[in-house]
């Protein structure tokens, strides 16, 4: 079964190849736009921490930019990119064509419609209760749900027509992720059962599941497909991947309340969340070990393959970020870090160090295979190193600063002291964020070269595109 993944040559008719290619290109261009936009908003916010009177006025006030930044990162950038890659993975690993190009286009339109409408709504002050990651007014979230349903249908249809006996593991993760997220979206939208503290418990459930049952499985799906592809070797242990799938499914939905430790939520709910946060080490370490063991013996060669380097950073981001999450769930550490900027550092370690690097690895691995065009070596180098160094500066400064913030409170210093003490760390955060933004500009150039622009061809016989190994 795994030969369908490590195989380097496509068996699809030319017309189906073209469909797959144009869908992938369009999704990647769209996702890249949202990445640039959301990061630019992020850098503007970072600047406002040092210069709060810069660009005043209602539309650009921090409290409106913040949900724009998070929602567009989540639902514009990461969601669109992951779905685009999931289509590619589903069709290629099943050795079949896309079930429906029309559905793929409809999904892309709906994703973008939701993100555009959501951004405008938030800028105008239509914010659904400041409930994190579900701030878009509900009609807009219905549009997003529509995009999810269309995507699920299309992915299932594609895999159902597979020309392989088994369903490749990546598709377990991606199809599962899309279906579960449909449930999450419905649970979040329905208003009739969540009031007051009840809404708090739903928020805890939602904000963690929207991340852990959506981005995590889809990003892991990329790892399971791109790693064997790039290395021309099967995944270390298929069974371990299956085990991680089921444990992730069972443990993750239970840990949401750890966002509300020490809150008036029932204590047993908080404790249950802590226990299962520890249990999450099982799928996280199992999955990470599986990826790293797949790469065993090849780490030397890795330096010559940026797609592999991106994926390696993504795997480490997954391992470190998720393990950090487990530790943050302990009451003793939460006492120091809760409400501080440490959490912001954590969310960037996971959404950036893990998810975003995984997406980049997937794009650099799969896009040249589909289009036959490569980005320049300089573009890859600049993107990788600026993103890596930028995120390091970002995460370290907020982790250190956040710890100081928490210690200030414990020491009973006047509150404003914790604001003053953060200033230099916020400057460093801005430096890191700016580097990240710069790297995204380079990434956009790379995507352009791999899609519609003139990129270096991956092989001598340019048409039809052959599936030459990316590195």
């Amino acid at each position: 079964m795994q030969t369908s993944v490590t195989a380097q040559r496509s068996t699809l008719p030319r017309r189906d190849e073209q469909t797959l290619r144009s869908v992938l290109c369009a999704y990647m261009m769209s996702a890249t736009f949202w990445l640039l936009f959301a990061t630019a908003v992020g850098v503007l916010m970072a600047y406002k921490f040092g210069a709060p009177d810069f660009w005043p006025g209602p539309w650009l006030t921090f409290g409106r930019l913040r949900p724009i930044h998070t929602n567009d990162t989540f639902y514009g950038w990461a969601s669109v990119a992951l779905v685009g890659l999931a289509y590619q993975v589903a069709a290629r690993s099943s050795r079949t064509r896309l079930y429906s190009a029309k559905l793929a286009w409809a999904g892309l339109v709906l994703f973008n419609l939701a993100a555009v409408a959501g951004t405008i709504a938030l800028a105008l002050g239509f914010n659904d209760g400041n409930l994190e990651y579900r701030e878009w007014p509900w009609p807009i979230r219905l549009i997003f749900l529509g995009a999810l349903v269309v995507t699920a249908w299309n992915l299932i249809g594609t895999v159902a027509r597979r020309n392989t006996e088994d369903i490749y593991l990546s598709n377990w993760y991606t199809i599962g992720g899309v279906l579960w997220t449909c449930i999450i979206a419905v649970v979040a939208i329905l208003p009739w059962y969540q009031y007051g503290l009840g809404q708090v418990s739903v928020s805890g459930f939602y904000m963690h599941n929207a991340v852990g049952m959506w981005f995590t499985p889809l990003a892991l799906g990329i790892f399971y497909y791109a790693l064997p592809k790039l290395l021309s070797r099967p995944i270390y242990s298929y069974a371990l991947g299956v085990f991680a799938f089921w444990t992730n499914l069972v443990f993750y939905p239970i840990i949401g309340a750890h966002h509300f430790l020490f809150s008036p939520l029932p204590w047993f709910l908080q404790t249950t969340a802590i226990v299962f946060s520890v249990a999450m080490l099982v799928p996280v370490w199992g999955g990470s070990a599986n990826f790293l063991l797949t790469m065993r013996g090849r780490f030397h060669g890795m330096a010559h393959s940026y797609p592999l380097m991106f994926i390696f950073v993504g795997v480490i981001g997954y391992l470190v970020g998720s393990t950090q999450g487990t530790f943050e769930a302990f009451r003793s550490l939460q006492e120091v870090w809760h409400f501080t900027n440490f959490t912001v550092g954590h969310s960037h370690l996971t959404m950036y160090g893990f998810v975003t690097f995984a997406i980049w690895g997937g794009i650099y691995a799969l896009l040249p295979l589909a289009t036959g065009k490569r980005p320049s070596e300089l573009g890859l180098t600049l993107h990788f190193w600026m993103a890596l160094v930028g995120s390091f500066i970002y995460i370290i400064s907020l982790s250190v600063g956040g710890t100081i913030q928490g210690r200030d409170w414990i020491h009973g210093l006047p509150f404003i002291q914790s604001v003053a003490d953060m200033q230099s760390y916020w400057i460093w955060r801005g430096v890191g964020g700016s580097l990240m933004l710069l790297s995204h500009v380079v990434f956009a150039w790379n995507v352009w070269r791999m899609t519609y622009g003139v990129g270096a061809s991956t092989s001598q016989d340019a048409a039809p595109p052959t599936e030459g190994a990316a590195a």
Partner: protein, 325 residues
């Protein structure tokens, strides 16, 4: 095909059950918690203020949950489930870039202070990084009848005209002032111990702020910072034309402390300090501060910024309180 149904259907079924157990059922169950004693729904104006709060994303920097932890005591008593019965949308928040607002109506009850702070936070808290919400105000040539213009300190005031709040600002301040914790039965007075609480227990004393001198003085400093400094400023100089100075203030240096005590317990309207009349009222603190707390604050004020007032005792405060009751 069967495999697909097994994987997609099976995992989705498992997930649906878990979503029910961990999301929906706790949601339903906890939605029915009855309000705690003294917890009331918002008025129409306050609810409008909450909408302004939500539209501008205030809860991305301000929490509304007090944890049962030492460091949260400055913000009030620990939040109880019954506090949130009428709080939909829930605004507990996840970041404390700014202070918690659960009890801000009690901690910071000056309307004028809130207006100035919203118009430009740096006018009252120089190190603040909160955005200015000046679009919630209008600059007009003269205030319409019945509307009191806001006395914005010169450095932040418009070059001409006066600043008046819009309906949104009016509603937002009404909402902020409505954020008051109802006292829990049997725990009266606990909140007054909160601010200085940490230096009271021996175990904490060694880890307390390095600036802590003698215990009482440190308590007075902490209480002043939490309760008084927002208006009178850490320098004791107040804000010219808005909040009177305590530095060199006759009442603060008066050998007879009764007026000083009285003002803190009962508030003051139209204060005349050094020949300047201040129109912004000082709120009363008799209900939120204990006699010992008031004495500590007074002694801090009387021994700071070059002031030389005679120290007072909690007994004197108690006597003054009894006199006016």
């Amino acid at each position: 095909m069967n495999k697909l149904i097994l994987i997609a259907g099976g995992s989705t079924l498992v997930y649906a059950v878990l979503a029910m157990l961990m999301g929906v059922l706790p949601g339903i169950e906890l939605s029915n918690i009855p309000p705690g004693p003294g917890v009331n729904p918002l008025t129409a104006l306050e609810a409008q203020g909450r909408a302004v709060y939500v539209a501008n994303g205030c809860s991305y920097c301000h929490t509304q949950q007090v944890r049962p932890l030492q460091q949260d005591k400055v913000f009030g008593r620990p939040s109880a489930p019954g506090d949130f019965t009428y709080q939909t949308p829930e605004l507990l928040g996840s970041e404390r870039t700014g202070p918690d607002l659960t009890n801000v109506g009690n901690r910071q009850s000056s309307v004028v202070w809130h207006y100035i702070h919203l118009y430009n936070p740096r006018a009252v808290v120089p190190q603040s990084i909160m955005p200015a919400f000046d679009w919630l105000f209008q600059v007009v040539d003269s205030a319409p009848p019945g509307v009191t213009p806001i006395t914005v300190p010169k450095a932040y005031a418009p070059t001409h005209g006066v600043v008046v709040p819009t309906r949104d600002a009016h509603a937002l301040v009404a909402y902020l002032l409505a954020l008051k914790q109802a006292p829990l039965p049997g725990s009266a007075g606990e909140s007054t111990e909160a601010i200085s609480g940490e230096s009271r227990t021996g175990a904490q004393a060694s880890t307390a702020a390095p600036s802590a001198g003698s215990g009482e003085a440190a308590k007075g400093h902490a209480l002043f910072t939490a309760t008084c400094a927002a208006c009178h400023q850490a320098t004791g100089e107040g804000l010219p034309g808005v909040f009177p100075p305590l530095k060199g203030n006759l009442a603060v240096n008066d050998a007879d402390p009764s007026h000083h005590i009285h003002v803190i317990l009962h508030g003051l309207q139209g204060a005349n300090v050094g020949g300047n009349v201040y129109s912004s009222p000082m709120p009363p603190f008799g209900a939120t501060l204990s006699d010992a707390d008031v004495a500590n604050i007074i002694n801090y004020e009387r021994s700071s910024w070059g002031n030389h007032g005679a120290p007072v005792t909690a007994a004197q405060v108690s006597a003054e309180r009894a006199k006016s009751n």
